[in-house]
Amino acid sequence: MMRSRAYLFMLLLCGWEQAHAATPTAQELAAMMRVAQYSNGFAARMSVLVTHPNGAHEPPFKVAVVGQASAQQQRLLLRGIEPAALRVQRYVAERKFAGKTLTIRARAAQPSGNFALDEPLFNSGLVLGDMFSPWWDWSQQTLLGTDKVKGHACLKVRSVNDDVHAPIQTVESCVDTQAQLSLRTRWYDAQQVLQRSAVVGATLRKAEGSGQLAKQVSLRDATGQITDINIYAGDEQYQITPQTFELLEMSEGAR
């Protein structure tokens, strides 16, 4: 009897220890989210519906995002698919790390030239800079406790921007650690005014490895405009070719 009680006590103790070990620190969580983004190549095609604060809808359109991410470099291409008139619109951006130095390049074709990474694109809430999730690289990360998003438990993390002049100063994410996915992200300016938010409505299991991918995301900006994104097709092993991000190189040549 005593032996079985001792065994039970040991089991409970192990369980308690495991439960504590399962909660990562804010820095560990940020590192996990950085690693979760790593990919030799991915592509996602999404349909986008913009709803104005007065409830009026813009005609839906489709865009594709192609990307590549490693510890040294992140590259993204956002291009229009449908309607056909959108196919000329392409935006490419790169974040490159050399030691502690971060270089950012961004180039657009039609309208051609440089564009700001935090600029909303396609007259919607799509912000290419947000797709890099740069806040996971920021040095100040703080755990704020647990929360629930659409019934799913998640860990709240506050990331504070190292660049005090940047328009976005704080990002609050609620991360499902099992899914390795932020279920809700909120962007605040220096005055702690909410600038935009993103909530994941549905997820999809990754084809390989652990974790999940967002399938439906709803973005809301400071004016109340809502951008609903539905990712209807994707390729987790997209073949990146020299042509994929060539727009970026062309911009260098132009300079």
């Binding site: 592509a43 095609r45 349909s47 839906p60 489709k62 594709a64 192609v66 229009g80 698919i81 449908e82 309607p83 056909a84 959108l86 196919r87 999809l204 299991r205 084809a207 390989e208 209807y232 097709a233 390729d235 987790e236 092993q237 997209y238 073949q239």
Partner: protein, 375 residues
């Protein structure tokens, strides 16, 4: 008066209550019939499509449990498969569910290797097939043509690219009839998946035995890590939508059974409480307790049988109605069979037995003296 007639009279004495009980059972059974037939039909339609194509084995990524198997580079796998014994042809297929008209729900768009055996089972109703691999045209299933209001010469915009409709075909599988087909290279181009396929279809020669197929499966597992060779039935049963529809149908069966049994239980219990004196008289007249139980069971089973029969009719009508809904057309092909209806009726009888069990026991345990004193 026989027991059946007696039971029938008892039920018709309270027509409103009997009708309501039958309605509740019928609704539950209708949900079971509709959902199960749709779930089976969905599975059968995919299987029919694969079987009609003449595919013996399908090679796909191991973790392909999502609606569409994850795409992979065909050239990395195809040569190895082509060298396996008995393999006659290895043909790539790429499919996606895409919006091809703003007024219609997403439609299946298939990319099939040009000139491959996959095309052979289709019957050209009108127009022609693509002339070559690079021709930016589509052929359209007869149901899709009707749903999208497209005819030969019309254009469809798929992912921002315009394709001309050059042919209308018919297939035995509703999935294919409601789809658009283009050549594989065109599909790869339009979906930005150059060189990729969702599945590779293997056709084996006529001398291949079941043992040979098992050997091919084992060889694929050995030589191509991360890939699996499976039969079309296995692929369909792994499909997320099939699994969800099956789970929904099973959950409905469970809930409908519980509700059905509870409804019968409630009705029979109320009926017995109201007829306590009558039961006392029957017992005083010399009725055996066994006969009394038989009467209660007969009433319960009559209720559930009639409810079951009405439910089957309602379920069939619902499934057929859903098939003709604009949003569902081409996606549902409900399957019905006599053994299925018999099983549903048997389920109804079981509900009657379960629901009538306690009331029958309660009635049989009544003492005539106590029952006759009841108000």
């Amino acid at each position: 008066m026989n027991l059946f007639r007696f039971a029938l009279d008892n039920l018709t004495r309270r027509p409103a209550r009997t009708s309501l009980t039958i309605s509740a059972i019928a609704l539950g059974i209708a949900a079971v019939v509709a959902l199960t037939s749709i779930s089976w039909g969905f599975e059968a339609s995919w299987q029919k499509a694969n079987d009609a194509r003449g595919t013996d084995l399908i090679v796909t990524r191991v973790a392909s449990e999502n609606t569409m198997p994850a795409p992979f580079l065909a050239e990395k796998v195809q040569p190895t498969l082509a060298q396996l014994p008995h393999v006659q042809a290895v043909v790539g297929l790429l499919s996606e569910m895409l919006t091809v008209s703003p007024d219609a729900p997403p439609t299946f768009v298939f990319g099939w290797a040009y000139g491959s055996y996959l095309w052979e089972h289709l019957r050209l109703v009108e127009g022609r097939w693509p002339h070559d691999d690079a021709e930016p045209v589509v052929v359209i299933g007869s149901l899709a043509a009707e749903m999208l209001h497209k005819k030969i010469g019309d254009q469809v915009e798929i992912e921002g690219t315009t394709f001309q409709v050059v042919g209308i075909y018919a297939s035995n599988a509703v999935v294919e009839n409601a789809a658009l087909i283009m050549t594989l290279s065109q599909a790869q181009q339009v979906t930005d998946k150059p060189g990729k396929v969702n599945v590779l279809n293997i056709k084996v020669d006529s001398s291949t035995t079941e043992a040979d197929l098992r050997a091919i499966k084992a060889q694929v597992q050995q030589t191509l890590p991360g890939f699996a060779a499976i039969t079309s039935g296995e692929l369909v049963s792994q499909n997320a939508v099939v699994r969800i529809s099956k789970a929904m149908s099973n959950a409905t069966i469970l809930i409908a059974s519980l509700v059905g049994a509870l409804v019968v239980f409630n009705t029979m219990l109320m009926s017995i409480n109201e007829r306590t004196r009558e039961i006392g008289i029957l017992l005083a007249l010399g009725w055996q307790r066994r006969t009394l139980m038989g009467l209660i069971f007969s009433e319960a089973m009559l209720l559930s049988l009639v409810g079951g029969a009405v439910g089957i009719v309602l379920g069939v009508l619902s499934a057929v109605g859903l098939e003709h809904l604009e949003l569902m057309r081409g996606k549902i092909d409900a399957v019905f069979s006599v053994p299925f209806f018999v099983a549903v009726l048997a389920l109804s009888v079981l509900l009657g037995i379960l629901g009538g069990l306690y009331p029958a026991l309660k009635a049989s345990k009544l003492l005539p003296s106590a029952a006759l004193r009841a108000e």
